[in-house]
Symmetry: C2
DNA sequence: ACGCTAGCGATTGTTCAACAATCTGACAAG
DNA sequence: CTTGTCAGATTGTTGAACAATCGCTAGCGT
């Protein structure tokens, strides 16, 4: 009953409630573009969360029959959801073979960082005059620091991602926002391939704080320079570890 | 038989041949991400082309029944294609009302130009050392000039778009390329709302050429500066005319 | 004549069952 | 050990069915 190819069993999750009724977990559900909609979108949200949470590990196959059974929706509707997530590059659709949680290649990682460098730095450069709205940035850094202190690296990882999302958000462009959401969601896939999340997040907490400080001081150019180094370092470390981990399979 | 809400009749187009067998029109088919695939993707390609060609004008409704009949695919498959195009923002899915060819708001136009400024300029700035590969850029400019001389403004428009795509392509990032494809496809929607395409393309031909020249000379910084002005001018002109045209309905 | 409501037709939303196409793995023949 | 073939399983696609919803119109009462 409801079993994926990697031997994992799909549990309950047959609720599919419309808006997340739990306000505590609500902030985590911003993965969806917006608006209420049909069943397919709701299914997509559920799957997106499961993937982001690492419940469906990269490379695992998502059987149409199992999942449609577990979520109590028809295969057709499920396929619509699959399409959605494939387009976001979270799933990979191999013809006649089914959909799989995407396994990033090292090239993908590099490209993702290329985009991040492009977008995040450009966002900082095209900033207007000093009084910026850093509410989201500030919040993300804080929750990241608290989570690190509490040793909760899952939350810390999310906060880190949200920090960069907030940075890009300073460009004030919905399309840019969506691009970043998509790209960072992809990046999360890479983290799930590796253990030891602390190693990839802890070193950057202080740099997040520093960048934020620069911004509050109105030194956008300085912040941008720091961010560029940040991304370069992060990219190198991650790509190296990832390549290693990937060949060791 | 096969009629859209705006009174337009859907013609034959029931072929759905797999790969475009006509090598001459092949370059025009790069709208698709890649790879052969299922029926839904092919349907999406057909619809994408029809929209880009202005055959389905912005605002028109795409009836499931008509289109599925005209293309000889089931409603389910068609809906998968719809989903695809909705995600690219070419179609708008209003719940229980059907899918419509998107009508851009002025805000959308502005955001699109924001993204273009961000991406295209960043692509030029992050360029490496002078010997760049400007094959695509050069080609786009040339075909644009020729088309203008021949008075074929449809082709000129496409060439112009391809020019900017090629510019962004210098960043050498697949994800950036896809972003640009998507954004420029959206932009095309705006052009279809307005008549007189010449007005929006002719003034920029010489500037395209100038930017290209700068690049061949290795002056990437100069090219970037010119491009920024270019986009600013274009945005202003287009947004103004568009707002006017939009309220005059 | 005006506004409101009930009902009707049309279209979408979702499901289900069936069949064709394709892949995977195992088993047998060489 | 390799190759070919077959059977089972899964996806790809279809067509029909029914529920949900929307827009409109006719009819009602005032």
């Amino acid at each position: 009953m409801a079993e994926t190819a990697n031997g994992r069993t799909v549990p309950d999750l047959s609720d599919l409630s419309d808006p997340a009724p739990d306000p505590a977990s609500a902030p985590a559900s911003d993965g969806a573009p917006l608006a209420r909609s049909g069943t397919a979108e709701r299914v997509a949200v559920v799957l997106r969360d499961r993937i982001a949470a690492g419940y469906f590990p990269p490379g695992s196959r998502l059987s149409e029959e199992s999942i449609s059974g577990a979520l109590a929706v028809s295969r057709n509707t499920l396929r619509e959801a699959f399409r959605l997530l494939s387009h976001e590059r979270l799933l990979e659709h191999r013809l006649n073979k089914g959909v799989f949680v995407r396994v990033l290649a090292v090239d993908d990682l590099i490209d993702i960082y290329r985009v991040r460098l492009l977008v995040e730095c450009a966002a900082l450069r095209n900033l207007g005059e000093p009084p910026y709205d850093l509410t989201d940035v500030e919040a993300a850094v804080s929750t990241g620091e608290q989570a690190a202190q509490a040793g909760d690296w899952a939350v810390c990882s999310t906060a880190n991602i949200r920090f960069h999302q907030a940075l890009a958000g300073l460009a004030n462009s919905p399309r840019t926002d969506e691009l970043m959401r998509s790209v960072l969601a992809e990046l999360r896939l890479a983290f799930h391939v590796m253990a030891d999340p602390r190693r990839f997040h802890e070193p950057y907490l202080s740099r997040n704080r520093e960048i934020t400080n620069r911004l509050t001081e109105g030194d956008a150019a300085g912040a941008e320079r720091m961010l560029a180094f940040y991304l370069e370092d992060s990219r190198r470390q991650l790509a190296e570890a990832y390549a290693e981990r990937l060949t060791a399979r």
